[in-house]
Symmetry: C2
Subunit: 550 residues, 2 copies
C-alpha cells in the first residue's frame, strides 16, 4: 500500500462538524435562537437526515427550523421520515433543501407527496413498513444526522421520552453508533439527570439538545369517539368476536385504528361477557392506549398492553393502571414502536385492520389515485411471520391439513371492511388503484399494503370469508366475492355457489353465526360517547379538547 | 363494585421485594457475597426469570448463584434463556429450582435438554428464533426478574455493555417497564457515570448491580481458523460467489458461522477481485465481527457491518475501523442482536447458512436424534419477510413471472451444505430426525429450522439448485435431488433429468459456472491461517489463546 487508508473518516467529519458550532452552542445545549445556524453548519448537502415524524409525535420545531436553512448552503438532502405528517415535511422538498424521501406512512401529506412525485420535485426511495425502515438504518441506509423529539433533556443529553417514546430509540441508536449527529428538541431542558423523571435514552447517544419554541406537536390519532360507531360496525364487531376471536381462541392480538375495531373493544364487556368469553380471548394486546379499550380494561378483560406510542389524554389513565400498561420507574408509560411492532409480528396471533381497496384475489391497499399514503405497520403485522416457531391455540387452529409430518400454524390476518367506503366507492375493485400509481410513479413494484395470500379472513357486513380454508386461488376469489355484497365483484358469484361455501364452513353469514341483525344496535356499546369513557376511567382519561362535546 | 380493584399489584410486589433486601444491599449495589441471599428474597417460586445466556456472553456468575439458592425457598421457576450454554443452565432444573424453559438456541447443552425433557425433569415452552422470544417478553411472556451481564456499572446502575451488548437491551427493557426486577452482574463497579466508557443501558432500568467473582464468560463462537478450510469449501465458495452473489448482485447480506461462508469471506479479495466484483456485491453486512472478514475489509470490499454480538479478540480491530463497524462515543464497538436480527430480516437481501439435515422437499433442521439444539437466528433470517416493501436488484431478480400487475421480490435464502456430514452421515434424508424428536417430546409441531418453501437456493459440492425457479413441489424435489450427490435422495434422479434442469438454468454445476474443480485450492484463500489474519489486521486482531498455534 502506498498511502495509508483512513478508517475514521466519518468520525473525523463528525468532530469537525461539532467543532464548527462550538461558539454558538453551550456544551450539548443549542440556544433555541441558534438552531438554524447550527443546522447550516452541521448538516451537509446530500446528507441522509432522519427527521422524526411518528404516528403521533413530531419533531416539529426541528422541521420548521430545517425549512429555514439556506438552500444554497444545505440542499439535496435524503430524508428518512417514518411518518410524513406536517406541511414542513414537504416544504423542504419544494425549496430544494431535500430531494429524496424514504418513508413508511404519510397521513395528511399523502396527496402532496403524490403530486410532488409527479412533478419531479421529489424522489421516493421506497415506501416501507416501520421496522423495515428502522432496519435499513443499520444496513444500507445509515444516517448522517438524526433530528428527534423528547419531552425533557438534561444538559448532558439524557432524554425523557416517556409515553411518547415511539420511534426515537431506533432512530437515535443508528447514528449514535455510526458517527452520525443526533439533535433532540425537547419541551424543557433541566440541569441534571436527577431532574428528569427517568432516562429513556442515554446522554451518550445524543450530541445536542435544544429547547423548542413550543411543546412538540402530538396528535390523538387513535382516539375514536363512540358516538360515531354505527349499527353496521356493531354487527361486524359481533361477527368478529363470535366468528373469529372465539372460534380460534385469539389471546394475543393487535387492533388497527378504525371504528370497526373500536366497536369490538366496546363490545367485549357486554356482548363478549354474555358469550362467557372473558379470560378466554383477548388478554394480551399490542396497541396504543386506545380510549375505547378502557371499559374492557376496567372489566378485567385485559392482562397486558404494550404500545407503539402514546395517546394524548391517556397519560394519567396509563399511569394508574401499571398492571396493564408498560410504565417506567417514574410511573409514566413507556412506548416503543420497534418492540411493539416486533411483538405484533412475532408474538401476536392476530392482526385485524381495514383497507380502502381490495381486489378479487384479496390484495389490498390504502394507496388510491392521487394519494401515496404508505402503510405504517400494516405490512409487518399483516403477514404470516414464517420465522415464528412457538405454537398457540389460535395459530394451530389455522392448520387445515393435519395429515403431514411437518406442520406449521398460521397467523390470523383479518381484513374487516364494509363493502362500500363512504361516498359509495366500492371497497372491492377489479384492479387496485395502487397498480396504476406504481406505474405512473415508476415504482419497481405496485404499492400493495397486504398481499392476498397473506389474508386469512375477510369480514364484511355480509359475512366472514375464511380464506385460510381456500383450496386454491380460484376458491379464494369465490370466497371473497361471497362477502363482497352488491359490488361488481359480489355480483360475479351465484347464490348457489355462496350456499355451497356456507355449507362447507368456508363462508359464514350472521345467520350461520346465530347473530340477528336486529340485535346489532348501539345499545350494546359499553360506552356510547366520550363522557362515558371518562366515567369508566374514573376521571383519569382526559380527552383532548376536540373530543369534548358534553 | 363492592371492593376497589387494585391496579398496581406488580409494582407493590416489586417494592416489597426490594425492601426485603434493604439490609443486605448498599443502594443498588449487591455485595458479591450476598447475591444468593438476595436471590432467595427477590425471586419467588413460579416466577418467570430471564437468565441471560447469549450466543457469546453469559451471565455466568448469576447462573452459578441461582444454582445455590435453596430449592425449598425458590422453585418451579419458568426460565427464559435465549441461549442455553452452561452446565449451570441445566443444573437448576435437576435441582427443582426451575421447571419450564423457553429458549432459542442450545449449543453444548442440546443433548442434556433432550435427555431431561425425556425424563420429565424439564418442560419446554417452545423453541424460538431470537427476536420471537424477545417479542413475547412484551406480550404473553412478561418476565418477573431478569439476570443479565455487562462489563461495567456505576453505583446508580448505568451499564456499559460495549461490544458484547448482544441481547441485553431487549431482555432488560421488558422487566424494567413492567415492574419486574433487573439484576446485572458486571466485571467492575465504578463510582459514577463519568467513570464509565459510555452508557449502553440507563441506570433507571436496572434495580441492582453486583460485581461478579470473575469476568463474565464469553466464547469466540464465530472464529474460524482458515487452516481448517478444505478444497471442497473453496469450490463451494467459488460457486456461491459466481453463481449466486454475482448472478443476483447481492449487496446486503448475512453470513452464518460455518467454514463454507468463512471461505467465501476469504475469497472475496482474491477470486472476487479477479471477477471484478468489488463494489458490485457484498457491501453491507449483518454479522458478528468475523476474523475471516478482515482481508475483505482491508481490501475495501466492506462498507458497513452491524453485529449481533462481539467476537473475542476483535475488540481492538473494530475500534480502529469505525467507518465499517458500529462504535460508540468511547470508540468501542456496539452490538445489538435485536436490531441486527431485524436488519437481517428486513434489510438484508440474502441469508446463507447450513444445516445438518435436509429432506426431499427442502425442509431442514439442526435438531437430530438426542439433540434439541434450537435454531438461534436462522428461522428469522432464513425466510422471506413478507412485510418487506423496498426493492433491490437481488430481491427483484428472484421474480420469475413478470407478467402480473402485482409483483413481489423475494429474499434469497441459501442453504450451503456438503452432501455428507462428517462421519459419512448423509445431509439429505428421507425424513428429518426432527419429526420424531417433535413427536417423542410432545411438541405441537416438528422443530423445523427452515421450511422448504422458504429456501431459494441449495448449494452443494455438486452444484446449485435454483429452487425459486421451481414450477411446483415436484420440480423442487427434483432440483434438490439433482445436487444431492450419491446420497439416497441423489440416486432418485436420472442423468437425463438432471441435464434437462441444467439446460433450463434451474441447476448449475461447476461446469455451467465455468469453474474448474482443479482451481479450487487453498491457494485462493486471502489468509491461510490465524497468523495471516493477524497480519492483515495490522496486529489489531488478537486471537484467543486456543487459536494461537504459530
Amino acid at each position: 500500500m502506498t498511502e495509508k487508508k483512513k478508517w475514521d473518516i466519518k468520525r473525523t467529519l463528525k468532530q469537525q462538524r461539532i467543532k464548527s458550532v462550538h461558539s454558538i452552542t453551550e456544551g450539548k445545549v443549542i440556544p433555541t435562537e441558534n438552531i438554524v445556524e447550527v443546522m447550516e453548519k452541521i448538516i451537509q448537502s446530500g446528507d441522509r437526515v432522519i427527521l422524526e415524524g411518528n404516528n403521533q409525535k413530531q419533531a416539529d420545531f426541528l422541521a420548521r427550523s430545517l425549512e429555514k436553512v439556506n438552500p444554497q448552503t444545505v440542499n439535496n438532502l435524503h430524508m428518512i421520515m417514518p411518518s410524513v405528517s406536517l406541511p414542513e415535511h414537504m416544504n423542504i422538498f419544494e425549496m430544494g433543501i431535500a430531494k429524496k424521501l424514504d418513508f413508511a406512512f404519510a397521513g395528511k401529506q399523502s396527496v402532496r407527496i403524490s403530486q410532488m412525485l409527479a412533478d419531479g420535485i421529489l424522489e421516493v426511495g421506497a415506501v416501507h413498513t416501520y421496522i423495515e425502515l428502522y432496519s435499513r438504518l443499520y444496513c444500507d441506509l445509515i444516517p448522517n444526522v438524526a433530528l428527534v423529539a423528547g419531552y425533557t433533556a438534561d444538559k448532558k443529553g439524557n432524554l425523557y421520552t416517556g409515553p411518547s417514546t415511539e420511534d426515537t430509540p431506533a432512530l437515535v441508536e443508528a447514528p449514535a453508533f455510526k458517527d452520525g449527529i443526533v439533535i433532540a428538541q425537547v419541551n424543557k431542558i433541566v440541569d441534571t439527570v436527577d431532574d428528569l423523571p427517568r432516562v429513556d435514552i442515554p446522554g451518550d447517544w445524543v450530541d445536542f439538545v435544544v429547547e423548542a419554541d413550543k411543546d412538540f406537536f402530538i396528535e390523538p390519532l387513535f382516539t375514536r369517539d363512540p358516538r360515531l360507531i354505527k349499527d353496521t360496525h356493531i354487527l361486524m364487531a359481533m361477527m368478529a368476536i363470535k366468528g373469529i376471536y372465539a372460534k380460534h381462541k385469539v389471546q394475543t392480538l393487535n387492533h388497527g385504528i378504525g371504528f370497526n375495531t373500536a366497536a369490538i373493544e366496546l363490545l367485549l364487556p357486554t356482548y363478549g361477557e354474555k358469550l362467557g368469553l372473558k379470560g378466554k380471548i383477548c388478554q394480551h394486546w399490542t396497541l396504543n392506549p386506545h380510549p375505547t379499550l378502557i371499559p374492557a380494561i376496567e372489566s378485567g378483560w385485559v392482562e397486558s398492553v404494550h404500545s407503539f406510542g402514546g395517546e394524548l389524554g391517556m397519560e394519567e389513565y396509563a399511569r394508574h393502571r401499571p398492571d396493564v400498561f408498560f410504565t417506567g420507574s417514574d410511573g409514566s408509560m413507556r412506548s416503543n414502536r420497534t418492540m411493539c411492532q416486533m411483538a405484533g409480528q412475532f408474538a401476536a396471533d392476530m392482526f385485524i385492520g381495514a383497507t380502502l381497496q381490495m381486489d378479487a384475489e384479496g390484495n389490498s391497499s390504502t394507496v388510491t389515485h392521487g394519494r401515496l399514503s404508505g402503510f405504517g405497520g400494516a405490512p409487518n403485522m399483516g403477514h404470516d411471520p414464517r420465522g415464528r416457531r412457538h405454537a398457540s391455540d389460535a395459530w394451530m387452529d389455522l392448520i387445515t391439513d393435519h395429515d403431514q409430518d411437518i406442520l406449521k400454524g398460521k397467523k390470523l390476518v383479518v381484513q374487516m371492511v364494509e363493502t362500500f367506503q363512504s361516498g359509495e366507492k366500492p371497497t372491492f375493485v377489479d384492479k387496485l388503484d395502487a397498480v396504476d400509481v406504481g406505474q405512473h410513479s415508476n415504482m419497481p413494484i405496485a404499492p400493495v399494503m397486504i398481499y392476498g395470500d397473506d389474508v386469512t379472513h375477510v369480514l364484511t357486513e355480509e359475512g366472514i370469508a375464511y380464506l385460510y380454508m381456500a383450496q386454491d386461488l380460484e376458491e379464494r376469489k369465490q370466497m371473497i366475492a361471497a362477502v363482497a355484497g352488491v359490488t361488481h365483484l359480489g355480483q360475479t358469484i351465484t347464490k348457489d355457489q355462496i350456499d355451497k361455501l356456507r355449507a362447507e364452513g368456508k363462508v359464514a353469514t350472521p345467520q350461520e353465526l346465530g347473530i340477528k341483525r336486529s340485535e346489532a344496535t348501539r345499545d350494546l356499546l359499553a360506552a356510547k360517547n366520550m363522557n362515558e369513557l371518562v366515567k369508566w376511567s374514573e376521571g383519569l382519561y382526559e380527552p383532548p379538547a376536540k373530543f369534548r362535546s358534553w
